[in-house]
């Protein structure tokens, strides 16, 4: 067991995280779920949770093997306040990536989605 571990450090190229595809996923879901909605403070927590869940499921099915996904959904109300959001990750720049999308509703609704691959090395195979 000791010292004989082999690790699969890099994902297959076809399995690599592709922000464009993920972004499309996000966009699709978000557009579908959020278009025409108004900001309801009671609904939003559940909504954001379910959004994140569905996005995660979708992205999981997109075939990015050995990735851990972190989905963050932020929904806010547009009331004129300035909002500044940014994210930072401690990751392996070669393999990890992120995709984000922004959906702004005309009426007091703003939602941001970002999607990250695992912050940890995330792909390994131990024998």
């Amino acid at each position: 067991m000791e010292g004989s571990d082999t690790y699969l450090i890099r994902p297959n190229p076809q399995n690599k995280f592709k922000p464009a595809i993920v972004k499309e996923c996000i966009r699709e879901i978000v557009r579908e779920r959020l278009s025409g909605k108004r900001y309801e403070p009671e609904e939003v927590p559940e909504l954001s949770r379910s959004l994140a869940e569905s996005i995660k499921d979708r992205v999981k099915n997109a075939g990015f093997d050995k990735y851990k996904l972190v989905v963050q959904v932020v929904i806010g109300e547009q009331r004129g306040e300035g909002v500044k959001m940014s994210s930072k990750c401690f990751w392996d720049a070669d393999t990890d990536n992120h995709a984000e999308d922004l959906f702004i509703n005309v009426c007091t609704f703003c939602s941001v989605h970002s999607d990250y691959s695992g912050g940890e090395g995330a792909k390994f195979k131990s024998i």
Partner: protein, 1016 residues
């Protein structure tokens, strides 16, 4: 929030959870043990009271046995080992029954669990003393009530946020706790008393026992609290969840998803249980080994154990103090506890305490029902986290209850108190004994089983924790497993991190939504809803363009009508004026010239028109037209100033053939006009017969007159007084005397120059009979050239000579001089010059012709009268002076040749004896001449036809003809010839010759030649 941080934390929490579960399981079992012991005491107590004192001994033995066995049995959990005492049998049976129930009602086990628990509680209470039961019921009921109330409220508030709910619950709990504490205050005091008492009795034992009871728990808690808060937080969450679940269980109406969750949970639980059991089995085996080993150790290392115990006791004493202090503090305020036992260690417990109160209650209930161990185990597994915290309190409670009972007993029957005390003492002793035995066992067991790291870290505490450890093999196993996993992960990460470079990704800006500015805010609040300011007009398209046109030039012009002197228009600008002035002057000159000629033409045309009408009328009325005449034209002499005047002369201009001059002699008849004594000379244009062009007047009688050569601009006249007068026809009419006669204004021109009284010595002293212009001296000058010469003369300044002959035969030659500039003031030297006149005569020579007259002639005819002066056209040096001899008074007509003395032909009786007044050759036919005799008979001779007698003889009786002259133009286009007859009445009649007298015939000159030849 950094995602990574969150993730990391999550990981951490998970791993910690794992360790937690392991630990808490361990702890849980320990707590069970503890609580069992605690709860056992009151139960035994009651039984003991009931059965009596002699039962005491037996029971103690039984209990001792049972406990020792039970502890072992519990660990093993063998269903076969039901070798229980009789007293325990009902419990056993109930437990078995429960097992069966569990099997059957497995899906509803959860729900039933709580009910059963309650049921068990009741059962247990039935076993207890009545009063105690009652009070328990009371307390429990109250609590249950509270619980239910709270649950109801929780149900209502289910939709609220967890935090809020927690807060509410906490409040409730705090209230509960307060109540609880209050309720216990007295009891505690009593308890303390009791304790004191018991301490007195067996201080050492009690303390040791308590230490044993407390220490592991405390140690565990310490260890537990040594961890960070996050665990607690997580635990909180877990607790909340569980509580919720429990609430859900107790609720009659179950939410569907909750049920699902519960199902899931149950499944998990089962699994866990199964695992747990397996592990327990394993542990059992191990336990056997360890037991044997322990036994060996016991013997071998008895001293060591004792030493351990001594240490433990010392530590326990301190702990005990602390605990008491804490109990006191708890009464006051949970927060105060921070001070007592180290801030970090104490705080979670104290924080938890309100929550735990409810738990503890449930837990105590559970614990009191000792037969439902299995169930409890499950239950505990569920609430494993609570246990460690609640354990202390439970312990306290246990202790509290214990004195409570005692108190009651005191109240009820003080006599039994002693018995109870004794029993208690015995129990304590027993407990101590059991505890020491077990602890001895567990110490060794734990030392083997507990992971190395924990032992290393907490060597000191290990001793205290053996009591909890000695039943918990599962947790140890788990811990080991988790440790293995963690080490494996550690190793993996260590290896991986060498290969993988982790770095901080670029900061990705997910959203940067600027704050709405004031204007947008304004629009949003006060404008239409959901509108957004998209565009702002900033006047960009409002460009300025201007067009500049050239300024309008303005200049002043003036015009005046009728035009005054220089021009008819102009403007104040000088340059313009000058130019205009020049133009205007030029224009005016041309205009006047044009007008002059044009007006003449127009006038002529009009005159023609009128004359034609007149002549037609005359033709129709007048039948006595002369036979030779082709038509006649009458000059309009029917003017007031010409009325009654006899025409003495009619003269045609030699160049301008249409200009005719008539001299009207002065009239004797008185007239209104003062011109009566004056001779009037009228200048006519034959084409304009209606009125004379110019009227000239002279005071004396004009005997002869002539035109200037060339253009008829000058008129010379010789008067009877011997003066020669010159009229310049170019003079403006304004400078002369004007008279308005009738409707017309006439200008009567005085002579421009007259020789009256001038040059007395050289001037004529007799009347001038003839005035003739000396032809220009050009040697080869021919007749046709005359107009050219004249024009030249005119242009060159009118330099020609004039000859005048008077009756005395004095011939004067005058030079006609035109002054370059007229002097309006008159000339001081030329007295004869009229002011403003420009033409004057200079006397050049004087010739006496009368001397040459032969005396024979003079003698014959008396004084010779020079009558006529004619210059030979070809040679000005030769001139003829007609005398009265030529025009024979007897009426004979003679034709003379210049070169011969004798006449070429002589016709007598040509005029029937009448003297010949005038004889003129016609202008167009050389062989035709006209003779006028004094009897006013006109004879026309045509030598070609008849050289003996005149062809036509016309006698005009009605109106005598006083003067006659011929006119004509031999021009090719318009050949005309005629005779002008001046009648006595003053009429001037222009008779055009008929064609045969006008058209020249070739033979005429031959005829004349032949006649001359015949004559010589």
């Amino acid at each position: 929030m950094s995602l990574f941080c969150a993730f990391e934390r999550l990981q951490k929490i998970k791993t910690r959870m794992r360790t937690c579960t392991a630990k808490s399981e361990h702890r849980k079992s320990f707590i069970q043990k503890l609580t069992k012991e605690d709860t056992w005491r009151p139960a035994d107590l009651t039984r003991h009271i009931r059965e009596g004192d002699d039962f005491d001994r037996r029971r103690d033995d039984n209990e001792r046995r049972h406990r020792g066995g039970e502890s072992v049995e519990r660990r093993r959990r063998d269903p076969e080992k039901v070798s229980r005492q009789e007293r325990d049998k009902p419990r056993e049976i109930s437990r078995e029954k429960r097992h069966e129930d569990e099997k059957y009602r497995y899906p509803d086990r959860r729900k039933e669990g709580s009910r059963d628990r309650r049921g068990d509680k009741d059962q247990e209470r039935q076993d207890d003393k009545e009063k105690k039961r009652e009070r328990d019921k009371l307390v429990a009921g109250k609590r249950n009530e509270d619980d239910y109330k709270r649950r109801d409220r929780a149900d209502k508030q289910e939709k609220e946020k967890d935090r809020e709910r927690d807060r509410d619950k906490e409040k409730d709990r705090a209230r509960d706790k307060e109540r609880h504490n209050e309720g216990h205050r007295d009891k505690r005091g009593e308890e303390r008393e009791k304790e004191r008492r018991s301490e007195e009795q067996d201080k050492e034992h009690r303390r040791g026992e308590r230490v044993r009871m407390e220490k592991p728990e405390r140690e565990k808690r310490d260890r537990h609290l040594g961890r960070e808060r996050p665990k607690d937080e997580y635990r909180d969450q877990r607790k909340d969840k569980e509580r919720r679940e429990r609430h859900g269980d107790k609720k009659d109406v179950e939410v569907k998803d909750e049920r699902e969750r519960i199902e899931e949970k149950r499944r998990h639980k089962e699994e866990r249980e199964r695992r747990h059991r397996e592990r327990e089995h394993k542990d059992e085996k191990r336990k056997h080994d360890s037991e044997s080993r322990e036994n060996r150790d016991l013997k071998g290392t008895g001293e060591e154990v004792r030493r351990h115990r001594g240490d433990r006791e010392r530590a326990e004493r301190d702990k005990h103090k602390e605990r008491r202090k804490r109990e006191e503090d708890e009464e006051e305020e949970p927060r105060r506890n921070l001070l007592t036992d180290g801030a970090s260690s104490k705080k979670p417990a104290s924080d938890k305490s309100p929550k735990q109160d409810t738990k503890t209650e449930v837990a105590t209930d559970e614990v009191s029902a000792d037969q439902e161990y299995e169930d409890d185990f499950e239950e505990y597994e569920e609430d494993f986290e609570e246990m460690d915290d609640s354990a202390s309190e439970r312990e306290d409670e246990g202790e509290q209850r214990h004195p409570e009972e005692g108190e009651e007993r005191e109240e009820l029957s003080a006599q039994r108190r002693k018995e109870i005390e004794a029993i208690q003492r015995a129990m304590d002793e027993e407990n101590e004994r059991v505890g020491t035995a077990q602890s001895r066992q567990t110490v060794s067991a734990e030392e083997e089983e507990t992971p190395k790291w924990s032992r290393e870290k907490n060597l000191k505490k290990e001793g205290g924790s053996q009591r909890g450890k000695f039943i918990d093999f599962v947790a140890a196993k788990q811990r080991e497993v988790s440790k293995q996993v963690s080490t494996k992960q550690k190793k993996r990460s260590a290896e991986l991190l060498r290969l993988i470079d982790l770095d901080f990704s670029m900061t990705v800006s997910l959203l940067d939504l600027p704050a709405v500015n004031e204007y947008d805010m304004y629009i949003r609040t006060f404008g239409t809803a959901n509108t957004k300011q998209a565009y702002v007009q900033c006047n960009e398209d409002n460009a300025d363009r201007d067009i500049q046109t050239e300024e309008i030039e303005v200049c002043e012009k003036w015009t005046q009508h009728p035009p005054e002197h220089k021009g008819a228009c102009g403007d104040p600008n000088l340059s313009h004026e000058a130019r205009n002035h020049g133009e205007m002057s030029f224009d005016s000159q041309r205009l006047t010239a044009f007008l002059r000629s044009a007006s003449q033409v127009m006038v002529i045309l009009l005159e023609e028109d009128r004359a034609e009408r007149k002549s037609l009328r005359k033709l129709s009325s007048q039948t006595d037209t002369p036979s030779f005449s082709d038509g006649s034209l009458q000059l309009n002499t029917n003017l007031s100033f010409l009325y009654g005047r006899r025409i003495s002369l009619v003269h045609f201009s030699p160049v301008q053939r249409h200009t005719v001059m008539s001299v009207h002699s002065a009239t004797t008849k008185p007239s209104a006009l003062r011109l009566d004594s004056c001779t009037v000379i009228c200048i006519w244009n034959i084409w304009e017969p209606s009125r004379p062009q110019k009227v000239l007047v002279y005071e004396s009688e004009v005997q002869c007159c002539c035109f200037s050569p060339g253009k008829a601009i000058l008129v010379f006249a010789g008067t009877s007084v011997g003066s020669v007068a010159v009229w310049d026809l170019r003079e403006h009419a304004g400078g002369h005397h004007r008279l308005t006669i009738g409707e017309e204004e006439w200008a009567f021109r005085q002579p421009t120059f007259s020789t009256d009284a001038l040059m007395a010595g050289s001037a004529h002293i007799s009347s001038v009979t003839s005035v003739e212009v000396v032809p220009s001296t050009a040697p080869g000058g021919l007749r046709p050239e005359a107009p050219l010469l004249a024009s030249e003369d005119e242009s060159s300044g009118l330099s020609f000579q004039l000859a005048s002959l008077d009756e005395m035969g004095v011939l004067n030659f005058w030079v006609v001089v035109e002054l370059p500039k007229a002097n309006e003031a008159g000339s001081p030297t030329d007295l004869g010059l009229r002011p403003g006149g420009k033409v004057k005569l200079l006397h050049s020579s004087r010739l006496l012709t009368a001397d040459r007259v032969s005396p024979r002639d003079a003698a014959e005819t008396g004084p010779l009268q020079t009558l006529l002066l004619r210059f030979l056209p070809t040679d000005s040096n030769h001139f003829f002076i007609g005398t009265n001899m030529v025009g024979c008074g007897d009426g004979s007509i003679r034709l003379h040749q210049v070169s011969s003395e004798h006449p070429v032909a002589e016709w007598k009786n040509g005029t029937a004896g009448e003297p010949v007044v005038s004889l003129r050759w016609t202008r167009t036919r050389p062989a035709v001449f006209c003779v006028l005799d004094a009897a006013s008979t006109l004879h026309v001779w045509d030598l070609l036809k008849n050289d003996a007698e005149p062809v036509v003889t016309e006698r005009m009786d009605s109106d005598r003809v006083t003067a006659m002259t011929v006119f004509g133009d031999s021009g090719q286009q318009n050949m005309y010839s005629g005779i002008a007859l001046a009648h006595e009445s003053g009429k001037i009649e222009m008779q055009y010759f008929s064609r045969h007298f006008t058209v020249p015939i070739k033979a005429e000159e031959e005829k004349l030649e032949s006649m001359m030849a015949e004559a010589f």
